[in-house]
């Protein structure tokens, strides 16, 4: 179901600016530096709908350090901190 976004480089959602939209390529919990274990972080992200192929858009940013971000995942809006969003690789 993943539509290729041409040659866009893969990058973590945690670095995306407001207005960014893209498709999830894979999850990489290991590099996120979250307080959760890798398995727990990955499970929670999946339970909130962050799976490969899902379309995401960064709708809003918080005031301090542009954090957290509100992300549209298909038709659900999820608030997540940039630290955890680093585990979501998008393009």
């Amino acid at each position: 179901m993943t539509k290729s976004n041409g040659t866009r480089p893969h990058s973590p959602l945690g670095l995306a600016k407001r207005g960014y939209s893209g498709v999830i390529q894979h999850l990489a919990a290991g590099g996120a530096g979250s307080a959760l274990s890798d398995i727990e972080l990955e499970s929670r992200l999946i339970e909130l709908g962050f799976v490969e192929g899902a379309r995401v858009e960064v709708l809003h940013e918080g005031i301090v350090g542009r954090d957290p971000i509100a992300v549209r995942v298909e038709n659900v809006t999820i608030a997540v901190r940039r630290r955890e969003a680093m585990a979501i690789i998008v393009a």
Binding site: S34, S43, I63, D67, P68, R72, N75, I78, R81
Partner: protein, 618 residues
């Protein structure tokens, strides 16, 4: 027949629960844990008696928090002493099926009879979502019904199907094959859910335009925070200004009742007991019912509208500066109503350290039981004037007291994080921001009604018995013949109050305040009632009518300010301490809370009194 409601947070489970059971519901706790257990009952069209339990919202059966464990154990029939549900209703927000369908696929492996309820079907239809119900039912292998919980008759189809399922001969239960899912299985079920949705549901490409428009302002980094501040400000002005006419009405009614008792009964013990003990005591607490209704009304409206999650989003990093988690915002806001539900609501915080910090500071949020104390003192000592032409000075002082509570809570949290837990990485913040919904008046009405009932029950039991005790202490022993001072000066209350007075004298408190503070431990608002009784017995009938005016003549401004400040911090609530002990499962945290709050209260009152006296308010 037993039914259980399961669903993701914000799926409209509670409004469906309210629609099915109306006011026939009971709220209690699960044994051993303080997870709220909501049970109700209804009768189906064919006359079948059905009991319904509303389980905490969850995205999976993994059971990461006490709430989610309850849901898992109930569905799996592991909860001792609880009936295993004959049918599990999996409730979905029809505009947002993705996460619920994944949960449903996981629920299927438990082998329990299942039904998928597509709730809020009208909103989905309006937004252009179309669901091929038979196809969805076939793909999932479970019955599917649509429902509009907020509309009359919107659950008819659900009731009909429930009857139908109940009437079928009980097929032997499928085996429970559920096991905690691995990451790969989770991913596979979400893929499967997406595939089924793609085949049976057509979604509009555009998100809800109202939600997008509102969020453009409400989640804007600057405008959003201004909106939040404005909402809180209006809430506190409302609590003080809107409730006033109703409160005066109630107060006059109790005054008239007291007068009636005084004129009809012969003077003596019974008259004194009814007028001073019961009517002026309990009455002075019940007067605050309008304010408590207004504060709960605001909180329930904001929750139902979908704003609370936004507030958590806005506050996450700001509170993070003070060492708090964004999710702590909702428990802390509930604590403005009462610290007990607030502390219980901290269960949504899965990280233990974040949760403990939130529990420690929740009692510093100005709960509704402080409102009577604040209102009484403010109306007696602060002039009813306007500042800058439109802000009520009394409202402003009230706002200042709330702000002081919030400020000190943030300070304490910062210290706790810094002193005890500075080496830990912050726990993640992940929260669904649901689409906005028109608040459902029936749900709000049921919520406010339940809270008001609890308040009145408290007034009728705890507060009443404390008042009887206070009246007794203040009336006995009776003064010796030929005594010159007011009768109360010879009573047990005076003896106790005067014994404690030296300890509280540095704060500017007299012995009457000392007497009122002790029963105030049972419930903060009792202090007001106790002051009412003490001064009523001391001063006679005119004192009973207008306790505020009496205080204005008996206390200095410095004493009044000192008592206000005392109430910001003082651990004056035995039930809160008991809940802390139960929720943390340790005496240690209860005593830490008590000790730090007492120390803060004493130091702050001491400073306030002495500064006020130095400025000439003594």
């Amino acid at each position: 027949m037993h039914l259980a409601l399961v669903g993701t947070p914000n799926s409209g489970k509670t409004s469906l629960f309210n629609a099915l059971t109306g006011s026939r519901q009971k709220v209690a706790n699960y044994p051993g844990v303080t997870v709220e257990r909501k049970e109700g009952s209804f009768v189906t069209p064919s006359g079948r008696q059905v009991s319904l339990v509303d389980l905490p919202g969850t995205y999976s059966l993994r059971g990461r928090s006490p709430d989610e464990e309850i849901t898992r154990d109930m569905v799996l029939g592991r909860t001792p002493g609880e009936a295993v549900p004959d049918l599990v209703l999996c409730v979905a927000d029809s505009t947002n099926l993705r996460l619920t369908i994944r949960l449903l696929l996981e629920l299927k492996s438990t082998g329990r009879p299942l039904m998928l309820v597509l709730n809020m079907f009208d909103i989905a239809a309006r937004r252009g979502v179309t669901v091929d119900v038979p196809k969805l039912s076939q793909a999932l292998g479970v019955p599917v019904v649509t429902s509009i919980a907020v509309r009359k008759g919107g659950t008819a189809e659900l009731l009909r199907l429930t009857d139908e399922i109940a009437a079928q001969a009980k097929s032997p239960l499928a085996q429970n094959l559920w096991q905690p899912l691995t990451v790969a299985q989770l991913r596979a079920t979400q893929r499967e859910a997406d595939r089924i949705i793609a085949s049976a549901v057509s979604l509009p490409s555009r998100p809800d335009s109202w939600t997008a428009r509102i969020d453009a302002v409400v989640l804007h980094p600057v405008a959003g925070l201004m909106v939040l501040a404005l909402i809180l400000f209006v809430m506190f002005q409302a609590v003080f200004a809107w409730a006033q006419p109703l409160m005066e009405l109630l107060s006059q009614a109790f005054g008239a009742l007291g007068q009636l008792v005084q004129t009809t009964l012969p003077s003596g013990l019974l008259q004194s007991f009814l007028q001073n003990g019961v009517i002026s005591g309990v009455g002075s607490v019940i007067v605050f019912l309008p304010q408590i209704i207004i504060i709960f009304l605001f909180i329930l409206l904001l929750e139902d509208f979908g704003y609370m999650a936004r507030a958590a989003f806005l506050m996450d990093r700001i509170m993070g500066g003070a060492g708090l988690h964004g999710r702590a915002f909702i428990p802390l806001l509930s604590s403005f109503a009462c610290a007990i539900p607030g502390i219980m609501a901290t269960r949504v915080i899965d990280n233990r350290r974040d949760r403990l910090t939130t529990i420690l500071i929740a009692p510093l949020m100005t709960c509704s039981a402080r409102i009577p104390v604040y209102t009484l003192i403010i109306s007696a000592f602060i002039p009813d004037t306007q500042v800058w032409g439109w802000i009520n000075l009394r409202g402003l002082v009230m706002f200042g007291l709330y702000a002081a509570g919030i400020g000190s809570a943030l300070g304490v949290s910062f210290l706790v994080k810094f002193l005890m837990w500075r080496d830990y990485a912050p726990a993640p913040f992940m929260l669904e921001l649901p689409d906005y919904k028109m608040p459902r008046l029936k749900s709000i009405a049921i919520g406010v009604y339940t809270r008001a009932k609890m308040f009145l029950q408290r007034a009728g039991t705890t507060i009443f018995s404390m008042m009887v005790l206070i009246w007794f202490l203040a009336s006995f022993p009776t003064p010796p013949a030929g005594a010159e001072n007011p009768a109360i000066n010879y009573s047990l209350a005076a003896i106790i109050g005067k014994a404690i007075e030296p300890l509280l004298a540095p704060l500017g408190f007299n012995w009457q305040i000392a007497v009122a503070l002790i029963p105030g431990m049972a419930a903060r608002e009792v202090a007001v009632a106790a002051l009412g009784t003490v001064y009523a017995i001391e001063g006679g009938k005119e004192a009973a009518d207008q306790i505020g005016q009496v205080l204005a003549t008996k206390w200095s401004l410095a004493t009044a300010l000192s008592l206000l400040v005392w109430y910001i911090f003082a651990p004056q609530c035995a039930s809160t301490l008991a809940v802390i002990r139960r929720e943390t499962a340790s005496w240690k945290w209860m005593w830490i809370t008590f000790a730090y709050m007492f120390a803060l209260a004493y130091a702050a009152s001491f400073a306030t009194y002495n500064i006020a006296v130095a400025l000439g308010a003594g």
